[in-house]
Amino acid sequence: MIGIRVEQQGLMTTIQDLGRVGHRAAGISQTGSLDTYAASIANWLVGNEEQSAVMEMTIIGPVLKFETEVIFSLCGANLQPVLNGEPIPNWTAVQAQVGDVLSFLGKVTGSRTYMAVSGGFQTPLVLGSRSTHVKAGMGGHEGRPLKKGDLLPVMSLNLEAKAWTGNRLDPSLQPQYESEVQIAMLPGPHLDRFVEGVLEVFCASPYKVTTLCDRMGFRLAGTPLTHKAAADLLSEPNQIGSIQVPGDGQPIILMNDAGTTGGYTKIATVLQSELHKIAQLGSGDVIQFVPLSIEEARTRSVTYFKSLESIKKELLAWQRPLGKAFTVKVNGKSYSVYVEEVKG
């Protein structure tokens, strides 16, 4: 089996794709990449469809050794990637040779980075997805976060795949990860379980992300949101982005690995098109919630997802250098070289 070897595991590194859809009624959480913007773009840069499996890295990146030639990209938080000690750009398709080592100097902004490889990681499909469901111990690589010694299988590279090298996302589309963000949400559905004026309080106050933030949820701290009576109700289905409020009045944003059902009152739901921003927040970052009507929310999200389709089209239309490809050996090392005819 050919692949990429984990030399150091990083903080929380898992194989993810766009999640396991269609099994919530069986109690199976969707899981999948928290930042689908970065993960999808990472895939398109190397010529993949958006649902190919990627490696999600969190804050402290892993150290990876390439045991085979790979075209890869890193999108999302800037963890300062270096290949054999040399800095490489994010949001760009890069080629690695056999024996190359990828490591990270440390996080600058953001929290999560996605590594896509040409053809996608080839871990087994479980119920139609390669996402890791850590709680159930299934999917991804052996159903768990990566650790030292793991070998992640990839597809062997052909000349066509190598042509994606150099594909880059326009800098204007590369997000700036701020430590204070505005997040659009749809209020409800349990507003009537809270005291009057709770929505005004919720939107007027900044909420800080606490250290208790992970793939299941982001616990926030700020002005408490007061219930009329009990904080819980009959357990009911959750949505990714549901903001639940337990008895202490502190909101929790449910994310991809949260249980499919829960019994705390929900004050609002983060828009699907805003989730990728939540994914990049870390402890100490601050959120200002902005309420939208259902019509505004729908328009916002439709616009966002349509813009993703445009980005996809452009990235997959990457014009490779015209001409012929050769493998050239210099001082014992092999290089892929494109030769373009000079006209005129």
Binding site: V21, G22, H23, R24, A25, A26, G27, I28, V126, L127, H133, K135, A136, G137, M138, M185, L186, G188, P189, L233, L234, S235, E236, P237, N238, Q239, G241, S242, G259, T260, T261, K266, T269, V270, L271, Q272, I294, A297, R298, R300, S301, V302, F305, K306
Partner: protein, 233 residues
């Protein structure tokens, strides 16, 4: 039960159709009918539908969503009409359980707390007919109703770090089965050899909303035999 369907949006892509705010069998029947009605619509933009205690939650593909079609279909579904013609044939499943021994470390505790004998706890638990209202919390975990109130026992003060998959327990007025190894605070009275959750199976969750569950007491020998067979499939 409400007189009309209440609609609650959980964000722009998730709609809960609320039928009731309490645990009631009448609502379960109507929710099953609503599920079937939604399935008949064959909406390509519907990605998930999850029955719950209180209703049915739908998840949509935002780009494909046709809200007009949804509203039209829902306006034609009558809660009263469905409640009136409610049929109560639920798919029944029997769950074999080896009670006590090392499989039910809290069986004695439940007996002491309830003032019943161990035999009485087992017979009351196996006499019950349990309705599955919802699967959630973890893969294959069934929220069931219908446990005999006299069996109620509060959760452990200090949850165990590890409870085996297949453990059958009581927590407050609820009874349930752990589908996966997990930490937990339920009183464990026995264990089933059946796999409540198997990702490789066509239906990964053994139980689903709308089923009726009965427990059957089996000996350790039968338990071990069934466990081996369950591991093979």
């Amino acid at each position: 039960m409400h007189t009309d369907l209440k609609l609650e949006w959980n964000g722009e892509a998730c709609l809960s159709l609320v039928v009731t705010d309490k645990i009631e069998k009448e609502a379960l029947v109507v929710i099953q009918a609503l599920s079937q009605y939604i399935d008949l619509q064959e909406w390509s933009f519907l990605t998930e539908r999850v029955p719950s205690y209180s209703g049915l939650t739908l998840y949509f593909d935002i780009l494909q969503l046709r809200e007009d079609l949804v509203m039209t279909a829902l306006s034609q579904f009558s809660l009263k009409g469905e409640a009136a013609k409610a049929i109560t044939d639920f798919k029944e499943i029997e769950i074999p359980v080896c009670y006590g021994l090392q499989y039910g470390p809290d069986l004695e505790k439940v007996a002491t707390h309830t003032g019943l004998s161990v035999e009485e706890v087992i017979s009351k638990h196996t006499e019950g007919v349990y309705l599955v209202y919802m699967i959630g919390f973890m893969p294959g975990f069934a929220y069931m109703g219908g446990m005999d109130e006299t069996l109620s026992t509060p959760r452990l003060e200090q949850p165990r770090l590890k409870i085996e998959a297949g453990a059958v327990g009581i927590a407050g007025q609820q009874t349930g089965i752990y589908p996966l190894e997990s930490p937990g605070g339920w009183n464990i009275i026995g264990q089933t050899p059946l796999r409540l959750f198997a990702p490789e199976r066509e239906k990964p969750s053994l139980l689903e909303a709308g089923m009726t569950v009965r427990f059957k007491s089996v000996t350790e020998a039968v338990f071990l035999d069934l466990k081996q067979k369950a591991g093979d499939c």
